[in-house]
């Protein structure tokens, strides 16, 4: 077993297939995909709709199980785990960021951020202080008591990022995190994701349609028809903080 020695790659996907059955039809979501992602990397996954990138993200996020092939997350093979075991892995190792933010409407930002801690296997004593720390990391500490409808789209997405961080996950999976945001706010969000990736070393995998958002990642993987068509490392990714500074300059 290779998992005996610590593997440098946090995500190991080998010959992964996912086939959906819709009635009598078989639809291929992923066809024999192999992919390795190193610890601390920032990967953007690109491709048109139906290319299989969302299917891959669902499997990487332990929300779905492959039809065949091997997926090891942090050295642990995910095959054959039960519903509840998968839920525990999601809780402990993975942070999710969604396009639609998916915040609970009737709860405050702080409570939204603390939500994953409520489901932790071992009871967490200081839920509120840890949630507050995560909110500080995304610069929203002063909005802790606000409800989602009192926050802008960008602020809501930052709350969602704080929620993804609160459990100290190994990886953050972001499914079109800027899809519902304007370009300036998108760059703000990218700045936060880049900062967390660089400062905390959190592996980040992001699905996006937009090439200019993908340009902030270190590595771009292109999907088409359930297969990887292109996999390239960016020699010099854009720096979102710097871009943000450029944004503000003309305004002044």
């Amino acid at each position: 077993m290779s998992s005996a020695s610590p593997c440098p790659d946090i995500i190991e996907v080998e010959h992964l297939s996912r086939i959906f059955r819709i009635g009598d039809m078989q639809v291929v979501g992923l066809a024999d995909v192999s992919l390795r992602i190193a610890r601390g990397d920032f990967v953007a996954i690109m491709g048109p709709s139906g290319s299989g990138k969302s299917t891959l993200m669902n499997i990487l996020g332990c929300l779905d199980r492959p039809s065949s092939g091997v997926y090891r997350l942090d050295g642990v093979s995910v095959q054959g785990l039960s519903r509840d075991e998968l839920a525990e892995i999601r809780n402990q190792k993975i942070g999710f960021v969604f396009q639609q933010f998916n915040l609970l409407a009737r709860t405050s930002a702080l409570e939204n951020v603390g939500l994953p801690l409520l489901y932790a296997a071992s009871p967490v004593a200081d839920v509120d202080s840890r949630a507050m720390e995560a909110l500080k990391a995304v610069g929203l500490a002063e909005r802790a008591d606000h409800h989602p409808n009192q926050l802008s789209g960008g602020q809501q997405q930052r709350v969602a990022i704080a929620r993804a961080l609160v459990n100290d996950p190994r990886i953050v999976l972001a499914d079109e995190p800027t899809g519902a945001l304007d370009s300036r706010t998108s760059v703000e969000i990218m700045a936060i994701l880049q900062k967390l990736n660089r400062e905390k070393g959190i592996t980040t995998v992001m699905v996006t349609h937009e090439p200019d958002i993908a340009a902030y990642a270190n590595r771009n993987v292109y999907f088409l028809d359930g297969k990887i068509t292109r996999d390239e490392r960016l020699p010099s990714p854009l720096d979102a903080a710097q871009e943000l500074a450029n944004f503000t300059k003309p305004a002044i």
């Binding site: 996020g61 839920a87 525990e88 809780n91 999710f96 969604f98």
Partner: protein, 391 residues
Amino acid sequence: MRSALTMLGIIIGVAAVIAMVAVGAGAESRIREQIASIGSNLIMVLSGSITSSGIRMGTGNAQTLTEEDARAILAECEAASLTAPAVRGGVQVVYGNNNWATQILGTTPEYLPIRDLSMQDGQAFTLADVEGATKVALLGKTVVDNLFYGEAPVGKIIRIKKVPFTVLGVLAPKGQSPTGQDQDDVILMPISTAKKKVIGTSQANAAAVGQILVQARDGRTAEVQTQMSGLLRQRHHLQANEDDDFTVRNMEEVFKAQETSARVMSLLLAAIASVSLVVGGIGIMNIMLVSVTERTKEIGLRQAVGAKTNDILSQFLVEAVTLSVAGGLVGIVLGIGASALISYFAKWSTEVSSGSVLMAFLFSALVGVFFGFYPARKAAYMDPIEALHYE
């Protein structure tokens, strides 16, 4: 608002159960009170049913019992503690310008403790009055109301069949008997007086009486019944093939049957009311299913951040139980209020027992678990990917 409407089913169900059980319990205790008003451990022996020339006469047609029979029962049946012979007759009674048709009852002083009667005013007649056949009378409340119109009756003279009687006392009111008769529409007097001055004596036997009331020692009514039957048959020289010439009525048995039917009635009412609890439960299930569908995305998110099957299940179960228990509590308050209103407006006695309140509360919680389980399970086993992308 929606939760309030959902709870309405449970509220109505619980309130109905409590009110119905209260009405039933009230009816039961009223019957019990009426039995007590007749006198406890009471057995009545009625004269009658002699067969003459093959024709059987009904009960009371012949006065086959005598005052000696009453004394003999007391002497020979060790399970009997008191006996009182009694004769009855309908009379017109006059006081001043007023008159009233009522029943007189000639008896001995033992009649009062046997029937659990007490004096409201004045005093009872004594054995001396019976021996001397003095013209004294004790009036029931109804008689007093219809003759005296607020005047104090004690010491006044009334006339029964033109014979003047001194009112010695007034009986404490007893109300209706279990059979619906007014127990206060009566005049008591010494048995000797009644026979000599009012009803007249039987030509065949001056000591004949219409009935004998017997009080059994605690709970030994059945024993008294058998001992007495044997004694009376012997005293009346009845052959083994002859029918009894008297009828024994154990009043307690008669009214126990009524009590049982009241209990059956209250159970039936509670059963009907609990149907509405079930209907309320279905309402909860309905609203929980709607809630689960509406919150599909939230469920998906909770699953994504690590909620296990049981976490989701218990979240929705707690919600359903909270709804039903809150409804149950409101229903308990309403049920108690409804019982009070029923007894106020319908003049039925109602009794809210803590047992029925507890039962209704537990039942409503159970309804919540039972009808909340299916929606909660549906939520817990959702596919997280579908739930997340549900719009």
